[in-house]
């Protein structure tokens, strides 16, 4: 095992810039690591060995030619399999997209390539990003490097596990209800959900269009900020993208690392309480709040009375949008086709394909969403959920009149055993209890490791107002400067 794999992206970038190491070498050691451990972790659905090495060699020759490259040029990255990558399989961990190679790159993928990052491959996830454990992948689960009998969170469990297992120093995730932050929390890594519209969704295979947000995953806050900077900013191909300059998250992370939070007002959401929260999580959160106070922040309790309705509202809005978004998987133009024997009708082939191609959780959500949008039920379900969404946004707006950021535990419980929550969907949905309100509001939030509970990582969630992503990076970096980073036992 090379020591290079333990380095942060920032440190790797510096070594590469100083020509102490080549991008090809850095890529090789990570590919070797994947070869060594991924049989047990299963973070990757596809490893693009040739693509990665050739991208790395290109960076090396550009650097040799004296070209000025960005701070992450030559640093490897893992990409969640929900992001379209030109010519490289993109399955969303679903059978229905098996073998599909997109003819185009997602906007964030283009920016990642332009920044000189080297894509190692595509990471595992819950099918179409629907789940909180990566157990709903059609290609088998990912295992948490902290304890291989436990889940790595979801839906972006593959990206988080790849970081924790030192298979990649950086990864891309997408967050619809917590799919970046909750895996970050349970694997002891950093995961940031940017402001909705702050990072382009073009090329992100849609689950819930009004909630999906791509964002950075890393082992340190500064690494996450650097990747955030690469992918953020207005994209004319995404009309929900915000036409404003992206906040300077890198500067904020560096500022936070100084460990001074004097004058910062931090709110603790009263309604989140401690019911149903693992004692170890509550204890770690209490310690984190104490740390914030020691760093000079003023911590107060803030009421967000509508947060308690976030989960039910989310489980109407997200499935409604998904029922429509996933209609295009019909066997006509791409992906799986089942039963096309020359005798069956088009409708039968579509039905058979969707029956065979989608997993149970995806079907469950399509059915819920179809029902919620049906005429006669729309107002009672989808319409009502949108009203709740407005109320939750108002809770955030008025909270941010009192405080600069809100904090909570990222998730009520640490990594659970595989299979522990698959029999009852509601028990699985509870994993996102604290992360979902932010998605409904559209603001940014980050999860940063704050300690261990019975040997398993616990995350702190920092939530900020829309387009104030820099604020959460500052707080997260300050916490990290005190508690440090967490290394799982050797695999």
């Amino acid at each position: 095992m090379s020591d290079l794999i333990k380095l942060s992206a920032v440190a790797l970038g510096e070594k590469l810039a100083a020509k102490e190491v080549s991008a090809e070498e850095v890529t090789r050691v990570h590919l070797d690591r994947i070869g060594e451990v991924d049989g047990r972790v299963h973070a990757f659905l596809h490893v693009d060995t040739e693509g990665a090495l050739s991208a790395a060699r290109e960076i090396d020759s550009r650097r040799a030619a004296g070209e000025k490259l960005g701070p992450l040029a030559g640093v490897p990255i893992a990409i969640k399999d929900v992001i379209a990558t030109k010519g490289v399989p993109t399955t969303c961990a679903s059978k229905i997209l098996e073998g599909w190679r997109p003819p185009y790159d997602a906007t964030i993928m283009t920016r990642i390539r332009e920044a000189g990052l080297v894509m190692l491959g595509k990471t595992n996830m819950d099918e179409f990003a629907m789940g909180s454990s990566t157990e709903y992948s059609a290609y088998g689960p990912t295992y948490n490097p902290w304890d291989l009998s436990r889940i790595p969170g979801g839906s972006g469990g593959g990206s988080a596990a790849a970081l924790a297992a030192y298979e990649a120093p950086l990864a891309i995730g997408t967050d619809t209800g917590g799919s970046i932050r909750q895996p970050g929390a349970v694997t002891g890594t950093v995961g940031a959900k940017p402001t909705y519209g702050g990072t382009s969704r073009y090329g992100l295979v849609a689950f819930s269009s009004s909630l999906d947000t791509p964002g950075p995953c890393a082992r340190t806050v500064l690494d996450a900020a650097l990747l955030h900077e690469v992918i953020a900013g207005h994209d004319p191909r995404d009309s929900t993208s915000i036409a404003q300059p992206a906040p300077d998250v890198v500067a904020a992370a560096r500022l936070g690392a100084s460990g001074d939070l004097t004058g910062v007002r931090v709110g603790v959401v009263k309604e989140f309480g401690t019911d149903g929260v693992e004692p170890g999580v509550t204890a770690a959160f209490r310690d984190a709040v104490e740390t914030l106070t020691k760093l000079g922040a003023e911590v107060v309790e803030v009421s967000c009375p509508h947060f308690q309705y976030a989960l039910p509202a989310y489980y109407l809005i997200a499935p409604s949008e998904c029922s429509s978004n996933l209609a295009r998987f019909d066997s006509v133009r791409f992906g799986l086709r089942v039963g096309d024997d020359g005798n069956r009708s088009l409708e039968e082939v579509m039905s058979l394909t969707r029956e065979a191609g989608f997993g149970d959780e995806v079907k469950r959500r399509i059915i819920i969403g179809t029902y919620a949008l049906s005429s006669g039920y729309y107002d009672a379900y989808y319409g009502q959920a949108q009203k709740v969404r407005t109320l939750i946004s108002r809770d955030f707006t008025s909270a941010f009149e009192q405080v600069d950021v809100l904090v909570s535990a990222t998730t009520p419980f640490t990594a659970f055993e595989l299979g522990a929550r698959t029999s009852d969907p509601y028990q699985m949905y509870l994993a996102d209890l604290y992360t979902i309100p932010t998605n409904l509001y559209g603001g940014p939030a980050i999860s940063v490791p704050i300690g261990l509970s019975e040997g398993l990582p616990v995350g702190l969630q920092v939530m900020a107002p829309t387009m104030a992503d820099d604020r959460m990076y500052r707080i997260a970096a300050a916490v990290e400067s005190v508690v440090g980073t967490f290394t799982p036992p050797a695999l």
Partner: protein, 498 residues
């Protein structure tokens, strides 16, 4: 239901009152599609004008075409509509292979334009057609069902889809129900579609060609007995020419009357119009209609047209056809009836362009309503497709006015134009049809005629001018009819007077 003997149209009108409504789809002539940058050229090779967005590939996102939004607002303004200050696109969800995403981006309860009207003239009477809404959506692809007898999806062995049309901006214009027009209903329907087509053409936002499908009509028809509530309506699809609009309403009125006469009830349903027979047949029943599960399109930002911009668009609208026609009628010094016949022939623009090319209004009207209309009728084509351009007609008339062609010769030249032989001057030269006005050549022919008929010449010298006909006939024969008889007569008399 058995097809009983249909009542006559007069019988229908004596017993029932029709209510009609029209939904018209117009493909906008924008350079690019509604939500992507693909070109919109008609007739390209299948699936060559496509990209991840209009193919609905996973991950792709729509971005609304500003030119299409502007065109829709201009149509709304021309139809006297209110323009929304804030509205959204909506998803209309249903599975069909020619819809790449299996939902259509359309507008539902928040259309761009609402509550307007369009005045149309029928038999000298003005009928005001209420406009319910004008909204913007994307077109679907085209499916071709191969194999099977019907060309329909059932029984086909293979279906081919061309997505070139998928995502082309489509404006839907929906009228309010139009009651109280009695026997005129079919003509009102036709006049409305014609007027709408002219308005849209004047705005320059679409080529509105029904035969190419860039303008498509669905016609709603119902009948009720006088004094009773409106009847159940049917929606006739696939009505793709002005003539068919009229025929579809008439045919559906006759069919519904025969059902009602027999004590039956009308089923609310979609019906298909057949150009060949002029009949409608039952399509899917509305009772089992799809639930489209409309909801606001989360991938697109709401539309909020700036009211000042809308005001500027309104101020910049061109002169609309009705106003334009009134002005032309005055300029051309025509009666209402004359103007109406020009309108009925679809010749307003053609005459106007012919006048612009130099012909007098009378001459232009004579050509287009006379020879060219006869020709168009005989060939069953629209006047504008008859094969002569306004510039050619104007040139033809210039040749007549300049004495180079007689009316008779001009008609022969026109034959050549319609046969695609080129412009009138070239045809005249090529066919040797020019009037012989070279006096040298004529004088020689006259001298020859006088020499051949000394007795006739003597009579004329003696004052019998009527005898000149013999000499004129002889000259015309020598010149093969290419001389102007009047000129020849004058020259003969002058020659023998001295």
């Amino acid at each position: 239901m058995s097809t009983s003997v249909l009542p006559t149209y007069d019988e229908v009108i004596s017993r029932y009152e029709p209510v009609i409504g029209l939904e018209t789809h117009v493909e906008l002539g924008t350079a690019t599609k509604m939500f992507c940058g693909c070109p919109t050229v008609f007739g390209a090779e299948p699936n060559t004008q496509v990209c991840p967005v209009c193919l609905g590939l996973p991950g792709s996102l729509p971005v609304a075409n500003k030119a299409a939004i502007e065109a829709t607002i201009r149509i709304g303004l021309a139809l006297n509509c209110s323009i929304a200050t804030w509205c959204r696109f909506a998803r209309k969800n249903y599975f069909y292979p020619d819809m790449p995403k299996n939902f259509q981006i359309s507008q539902y309860d928040e259309p761009l334009c609402t509550d307007g009207y369009l005045d149309v003239e029928v038999n000298g009477e003005t009928v005001r057609i209420g406009i319910e809404r004008v909204h913007l959506e994307e077109d679907t692809g085209k499916t071709l069902h191969v194999g099977g007898a019907t060309g329909r999806i059932h029984g086909a062995t293979e279906s081919l889809v061309d997505y070139n049309r998928a995502g082309i901006p489509l404006v839907e214009i929906v009228t309010k129900p139009v009651p109280g027009i009695g026997a005129m209903a079919p003509e009102v329907a036709k006049a409305y579609v014609a007027e709408l087509r002219d308005v849209i053409r004047t705005l320059g936002v679409s080529d509105v060609r029904m035969e190419q499908g860039s303008m498509r009509c669905d016609v709603n028809t119902s009948l009720n007995r006088p004094g009773e509530e409106w009847g159940t309506r049917t929606e006739t699809k696939n009505v793709n020419s002005l003539r068919s609009v009229e025929r579809a309403v008439r045919s559906e009125m006759l069919r519904q009357a025969s059902v009602l006469d027999a004590g039956g009830t009308i089923t609310q349903e979609t019906r298909h119009f057949h150009e060949d027979t002029g009949d409608t047949t039952s399509g899917r029943s509305k009772e089992t209609a799809t639930d489209y599960r409309y909801f606001p399109e989360p991938d697109l930002a709401p539309l909020a047209p700036d009211p000042q911009w809308v005001e500027r668009l309104k101020a910049a609208l061109p002169e609309l056809p009705r106003v334009h026609r009134a002005r032309l009628r005055t300029e051309w010094n025509l009666s209402e009836l004359d103007m109406q016949s020009i309108l009925n022939a679809g010749a307003v623009e053609l005459i106007e362009q012919t006048v612009a090319a130099g012909a007098s209004p009378e001459a232009a009207r004579k050509w287009w309503l006379g020879e060219l209309s006869r020709r168009a009728n005989a060939e069953g084509v629209e006047l504008e497709s008859v094969g002569a351009t306004p510039a050619q007609v104007a040139q033809l008339q210039t040749l007549v006015d300049g004495g180079k062609l007689t009316d008779k010769l001009a008609r022969q030249v026109l034959e050549g134009v319609l046969a695609g032989e080129g412009d009138p001057e070239a045809i005249m030269a090529a066919r040797g049809l020019e009037v012989v006005s070279d006096t040298g050549a004529l004088t020689a022919a006259i001298d020859e005629a006088i020499a051949a008929h000394p007795d006739v010449a003597e009579k004329i010298r003696g004052g019998n001018q009527a005898a000149a006909g013999v000499l004129i006939g002889a000259v015309m024969k020598t010149t093969k009819g290419a001389a102007d008889a009047k000129t020849v007569r004058e020259l003969v008399l002058a020659r023998l007077a001295g």
